[in-house]
């Protein structure tokens, strides 16, 4: 059990949840959040947004029933956390582009933050696309070399793919597929973080199976980050 420090509305139906404690995890990994004792049964997989010395933060959208219940919680309320789970983004070098759409932005924050600190990384350009509004305006510039965003259009169009050594992408499938295609055309590896419904979160139940070029993989354990080419039929 963990105690909520804050759960702030930062955009239309979008919340930033902060929980005190010492938490582990690397960029691209996720936690399973159980929002109530009894109902609903299953935990929700939510990416690490930020980890500091004494807190962990999640950026999430209140879409279905579980996240709606979560969005009504406030300081002092209990919540259950399990994690970190999944592989996270691989370690890379050179010039990196981070491309996020919608809530796909969430895992890119800690990712950018940590990449920026690495000597082997020369550039971290961040490209975010939102449908309605840019959330957490002030934060994104701090964790990127350059920050570009787009409201209502296709953020993938903004990315000068050939400028980069590696691209990390998270968001709607169409977007990630597009990035993968563009990456392939330019010889740039594209890593995508994909979503799947999850029950156990630890690789035992096979509800999150995805078909890859190398056979079935578990999104919760072998992913959520995969090489785009292994996932999408191009």
């Amino acid at each position: 059990m963990a105690i909520i420090k804050s759960n702030e509305r930062v955009g239309e139906g979008i919340f930033l949840l902060e929980i005190e404690g010492i938490f582990r995890g690397k960029p691209g990994q996720f936690y399973m959040l159980k929002v109530n004792d009894e109902y609903p049964l299953l935990s929700r997989p939510i990416s690490i947004f930020e980890i500091t010395e004494d807190t962990i933060k999640f950026l999430y959208q209140s879409s279905g029933e579980g996240t709606k219940i979560l969005s009504r919680k406030s300081e002092g309320d209990a919540i259950y956390l399990r994690g970190p789970y999944g592989n996270g983004f691989p370690s890379v070098e050179g010039k990196i582009a981070l491309v996020g759409g919608g809530m796909g932005a969430a895992p890119l924050y800690e990712t950018g933050k940590q990449l920026l600190k690495k000597p082997a990384i020369t550039t971290v350009d961040l490209f975010l696309g939102f449908s309605y509004e840019l959330v957490l305006k002030d934060k994104w510039e701090k964790i990127s070399s350059r920050f570009f965003y787009d409201i209502g259009g296709y953020v993938s169009n903004l990315v000068p793919v050939s400028n980069y050594d590696v691209i990390f992408s998270c968001g709607p499938d169409v977007m990630m597929k597009k990035m993968t295609e563009a990456g392939k055309a330019n010889g740039v590896p594209v890593y995508v973080s994909i979503e799947s419904r999850m029950a156990c979160g630890i690789g035992a139940c096979l509800t999150c199976t995805c078909h890859t070029k190398n056979g079935n993989r578990k999104v919760c354990k072998d992913g959520p980050v995969f090489l785009g080419e292994d996932i999408y039929e191009l």
Binding site: L41, G66, A199, I202, T209, N216
Partner: protein
């Protein structure tokens, strides 16, 4: 501690009555990182088919009020790979290992059983109850005749104790249980998931590619308990009860209704430490109530 949790299942002893249910616990490995899985009385493997199976495509999970619908479709590495790779790892845990066996045809069942005959498994759970594959499996468990027939064939060659896992979709689950007993089954386990469905009203389509999926979890517990109660009274072989068990109290309900062992499935997803907690909770309960052996309370309802 004067109470003990041991249970005799025919001639085989289980250290306690809590067993991980097939398909919800993998082959134990992942949960062993959460707690020592040998805390459990036993572990059922994921349902095994002859050849590796990719499982179903499309969405495989949907949450319902206090239940989950799954449409995994028996994704598994196939029995040979199980014997080669998974079983040796499972056997390292000091607990009973049960192989759950599914098949599309009688022949497939028999070949799987043969593959397992010379292994040091503790028990086989014959799955004639999975609603998520298009052919076979649950089809064998609907009628008492087809159930009895497959059990008879399997018993003829099977060298391990054989428990038959029944479906709540059986036309008459009590008759199916009785006919399995008559055909030589060493025990009955019930229930597998209910055939059920969900509609995505936005897409105006069934949620699952197979349209129907399997319902499990606390939602079904009252029905599962009723079936376990009725079947336990009707057969004299031991019964493994399951369906929606979430905590030690639920486990006690099933035991009081007549179950020798209970299996825990969906709860592993809700709380990965549930297995350990349920064993401890049960022990605690027995100590407090001065129950020396589970025999004292089994079937008293």
């Amino acid at each position: 501690m004067s109470c003990n949790l041991r249970v005799k299942f025919n001639h085989m002893e289980f250290k306690n009555p809590i067993v991980a249910a097939s398909g919800t616990f993998g082959f134990g490995e992942e949960y062993n990182e959460v707690y020592e899985v040998e805390t459990l009385g036993g572990i059922c493997s994921k349902g095994l088919t002859l050849n590796a199976k990719e499982g179903n495509s499309g969405i495989r999970l949907w949450e319902t009020p206090m239940g989950i619908l799954n449409s995994i479709g028996m994704e598994n590495p196939g029995v040979k790979e199980f014997v080669r790779k998974e079983l040796p790892k499972m056997k390292k845990y000091n607990t009973r290992i049960i192989a759950n066996v599914g098949g599309a045809t009688e022949e497939e069942y028999l070949t799987i059983i043969e593959e397992l005959n010379d292994t040091d498994l503790d028990m086989i759970e014959l799955n004639i109850s999975c609603p998520n594959v298009k052919e076979g499996c649950m089809a064998f468990g609907i009628h008492e005749k087809s159930a009895a027939n497959i059990v008879k064939q399997v018993k003829r060659i099977c060298r391990h104790p054989l428990v038959v896992k029944l479906t709540p979709n059986a036309e008459n689950i009590v008759k199916v249980a009785a006919s399995c007993e008559a055909a030589g089954a060493d025990g009955i386990s019930l229930i597998n998931t209910f055939k059920a469905m969900a509609v995505d009203i936005e897409k105006r389509k069934a949620v699952f590619e197979n349209v129907y999926a399997g319902l499990s979890g606390p939602a079904i517990k009252p029905i599962a308990l009723q079936m376990v109660h009725e079947v336990s009274k009707a057969v004299s072989i031991p019964v493994i009860g399951m369906g929606g068990i979430m905590n030690w109290k639920d486990a006690v309900e099933f035991i009081m209704a007549g179950a020798h062992l209970v299996q825990i499935g969906t709860v592993n997803f809700v709380n990965p430490e549930a297995g350990k907690e349920i064993v401890l909770g049960l022990q605690n309960y027995m100590e407090k109530e001065g129950i020396k052996s589970i025999d004292e309370i089994r079937g008293i309802v």
